[in-house]
């Protein structure tokens, strides 16, 4: 019998924090800029320069830890990770070794089918980013064959959060779900831009396989160079397939770092574990231990927004929205906030989401004006939802009203009142329209009676037109049938 394998996946993320200045100096923390323009003696590692920690970055870390339910120890410290690398100005990186700012925690995420899952965190620690090397004089920009290298230190010293997950993920979809939830949460907290394309989110995946049901882990490989969630998904799938093939044919997995090749869709060996560094970590004597008071922790806890997975549960479970709609609202924060205001007034999430994600989003797309910045005030949209819900206007009128609201018409209730657009549900009034229509089109009435029931729509249309759209279409249908039978 063929052995079935399952994958065991853990993710390590590096996230650049959004702060005004770098982690240990006063240089602006910005993406881009002419090479080596956002630098000073400190982030260039000039002789005699000293680091001073950025309080904001530490607060961002604590906020993230609290969002994920990590423990925030009262004491933390910075350590030096020593290794030589040309884009690391001091030839050591200020990082955290054995006393990270955040210990443990859980990232809750959901899959496309709406299932909620959890992935535990090992730790989140704070460090400084390195500069960026460009290798020149070769054809492919790789270091091999290059005749010289250029280093841009603009990124050197940018605060960097390293978030390490436990190996709780089993599929590439789970890995992407985890990453998306992590990204959404950090965005919601405002602690990072989390843009993979600008490098403010970078991630590596540790992948191994084992027979389904086994409790021990297999030998893992670390996958690097993935530059989008899509490539994370593809790289993990490719690596699972590669490992499965090796193990199925009696081979052994080598513990190594493998690079993802986007073009070929495969991973390739970069370096083996034997070449691992001894980083000689020790407490950075230039920095004093960090004390995080419980007052600070509570203050930051008080600033936490509703978290993405909490919103997802509210939208999906409480409001009954479809996964796609809920996700759409979460991923567009201003639209989501707008939606929440509409729901707060209308108390009808379903109808509200139909308007917000339907006609209103369509108008926004057509005009290029975001919903939240449009002339449609959330309370007016809520009013419209109420008009539809109470059947005071039918959907056709509602759509018309929304168009006018988009152009700045204001309160829909006022328009309905002013222009007498309220839906007519008075059977006597509708009966008059029905009688008139049958009288005006006796041949159509005859056809219907002869069994050609599809002409009903024509009669209904005539009646709606005569009522200027205000007649309740359901009542109209019912009365026409009754009259013609």
């Amino acid at each position: 019998m063929k052995t079935e394998y399952e994958a065991v996946i853990g993710i390590e993320c590096h996230v650049e924090l959004r702060t005004n200045t770098k982690m240990f100096c006063g240089c602006r923390n910005e993406f881009g800029g002419e090479p080596n323009t956002l630098v000073c003696p400190v982030c260039l590692g000039m002789p005699g320069a000293l680091p001073v920690p950025n309080r904001r970055a530490i607060e961002h870390m604590v906020a993230a830890g609290l969002a994920f339910g990590s423990a925030i120890p009262a004491f933390s410290k910075f350590d030096r990770k020593n290794y030589f690398y040309p884009d690391m100005p001091k030839d050591y990186q200020i990082s955290q070794y054995d006393m990270p700012l955040c210990e443990g925690g859980t990232v809750r995420y959901w899959l496309d089918d709406g299932t909620m899952r959890e992935c535990r965190l090992t730790r989140i620690h704070l460090e400084e980013d390195t500069g960026k090397s460009t290798h020149a004089g070769s054809d492919d920009g790789r270091i091999a064959g290059s005749s010289y290298s250029l280093v841009d230190f603009n990124r050197a010293g940018v605060p960097l959060m390293e978030c390490v997950s436990e190996p709780d993920l089993r599929t590439s979809q789970e890995a992407v779900g985890y990453l998306e939830s992590l990204r959404r949460t950090l965005l919601a907290l405002g602690v990072s831009d989390v843009k993979m394309e600008e490098g403010s989110l970078r991630c590596d995946a540790n992948v191994s396989i084992r027979p389904v049901g086994a409790s021990e882990f297999g030998t893992k490989t670390e996958i690097k160079n993935m530059n989008s969630f899509r490539s994370v998904e593809r790289a993990i799938e490719s690596e699972i397939a590669r490992q499965t093939e090796i193990v199925s044919s009696g081979g052994r997995i080598v513990q190594e770092t493998r690079g993802w090749d986007e073009v070929n869709g495969t991973t390739h060996s970069m370096r083996s574990k034997e070449e691992a560094h001894d980083y000689r970590y020790f407490p950075d004597p230039d920095l004093v231990p960090l004390e995080i008071s419980s007052d600070d922790v509570e203050r930051l806890r008080g600033t936490l927004p509703e978290l993405p997975w909490q919103r997802f549960e509210r939208y999906a479970t409480e409001y009954g929205l479809a996964t796609k709609q809920a996700t759409q609202l979460i991923d567009n924060p201003s639209l989501g906030a707008y939606f929440d205001r509409v729901v707060a007034e209308s108390s009808n999430p379903h109808q509200s989401s139909n308007f917000v994600l339907g006609d209103l989003s369509r108008l926004a797309n057509e005009t290029g004006v975001p919903v939240a910045e449009s002339k449609v005030a959330p309370e007016h949209l809520a009013e419209l939802v109420g008009l539809v819900e109470s059947k005071r206007v039918n959907s056709k009128i509602a759509k018309e009203l929304l168009g006018r609201m988009w152009d700045g018409a204001g309160s829909p209730a006022a328009i309905v009142e002013r222009e007498g657009l309220a839906q007519t549900s008075d059977p006597a009034a509708i009966e008059r329209f029905v009688d008139d229509a049958i009288a005006a089109h006796p041949e159509v009435a005859a056809e219907y009676r002869a069994g050609k029931t599809n002409v009903l729509g024509f009669l209904v249309g005539q009646i709606m037109k005569a009522s200027r759209g205000k007649a309740d279409p359901a009542l109209v249908n019912e009365l026409v049938r009754k009259k013609l039978c």
Binding site: P47, G48, A49, L50, V52, P86, K90, R280, P285, D286
Partner: protein, 483 residues
Amino acid sequence: MASDLLSESAARIAERVRSGEVTASEVTEATLERVAAADGSIGAYLTVLPELARAHAARVDERVRGGESLPLAGVPLAVKDNMCLEGTRTTCGSKILEHWVAPYTATAVARMIEAGAVPIGKANCDEFAMGSSCENSALGVTRNPYDLTRVPGGSSGGSAAAVAAYEAAIGLGSDTGGSIREPAAFCNLVGFKPTYGRISRYGLIAFASSLDQIGPLTRTVEDSALAYDAMAGFDPMDATSIDRSVEVAASGLRDDLRGLRIGIVRDFETKALGEDLDAIYQAAYRDLEKLGAELVDVSLPTAEYGVATYYLIAPAECSSNLARFDGVRYGLRVDGDDVRAMYERTRAAGFGPEVKRRILIGTHALSSGYYDAYYVRAQKARTLIGRDFENAFEQCDLIACPAGSCAAFEFGAKSDPYSMYLMDYYTIPMSLAGLPALSVPCGWSTPPGGSTPMPIGLQLCAPLFEERLLLGAAHAYETATRA
């Protein structure tokens, strides 16, 4: 008049400049002349800065005329060459930084200049402040002004020689295990290391970050107090600088020691130093008593582990601090076929033997498998040494002991590293404990085989942050004993 002026204390020079009796420019010219005449044989400076000095002097004169009362108006300053001064070559006495020009100024140096001091030049030192004789400088020889065949001490040997030879009135030094106190003792000066963190390290090129502390070398205690007052205090650029108010030291100078209990360290028995030195120290202790102090017998049982502890912690930190000298961004670069070869050739050519020795020791002490046995144990020993001082200071207000185990020695006399390391036996424990300590001249002794009497220093040490008390007491001793 010129030589009279230069032999004055910094306090007196500043007073005369403030009063308008002389100008800072005149003091500066006289000093530059003195340097031109004397430094050829002394070798205190690696770089003399005539233009910069004149520009600063002119600015001081302008400020004085503008009515500013500058505590160090026109005082000629020697800056140890491991401190950054913008636009000047800052070498650390090393080939690896031989041509490096600092792009910014160290906080301590900036504060001295702000107080009116005029930087005359950058003073020689042991390479990256690693040494006790200045012999480890890769860029020049500095001689003891009291006997040119002898070392000035180290690592702040250039600053000490400059002040002793009247080529400056104040020398800035840095003390990691004794590098201010020992050369001060060798050159008949007051050398003062404040509490760790009192003076910003920003712009001081690090040797061992948890121990390095800037301080002055001067001819009088009062001058050290003035320099300390100018430099001490929190600096937002140094996370280890202490955010705590600083008591003005210059106003705390006293003439007696009444009411003070001074601890004599039982474990630092001076008989082993020879009859001559023993007699000098015993006389010094009696002088303290005569000034009204009560002598108390105290013990520092773990102080004997100071040297061993220090030579793990300091090299560990230095191995990491000196990693940045890799040829990539600044300083010496010796090219190779790839970046690794460039690192290796640059560092092989740029660092001298003592620096390499300490980088190797430190790298080993931090290595996986040795870290707990060496670095962690050394940190524990450091804690115990600190506790010894805490206990001792429950019985006394100050501690008195030797500043060194001998007078200035001849060049090459301490050629094996270990005997050189032992030079700091009496100064290292205070550094490990972060305590304020100073060396003050206490006598003269003709070294065995020598013909000239050489100066000897008494070390006084106070509890953390008690700089004012320490300088005050040293002033009383100095006043009573100086002929």
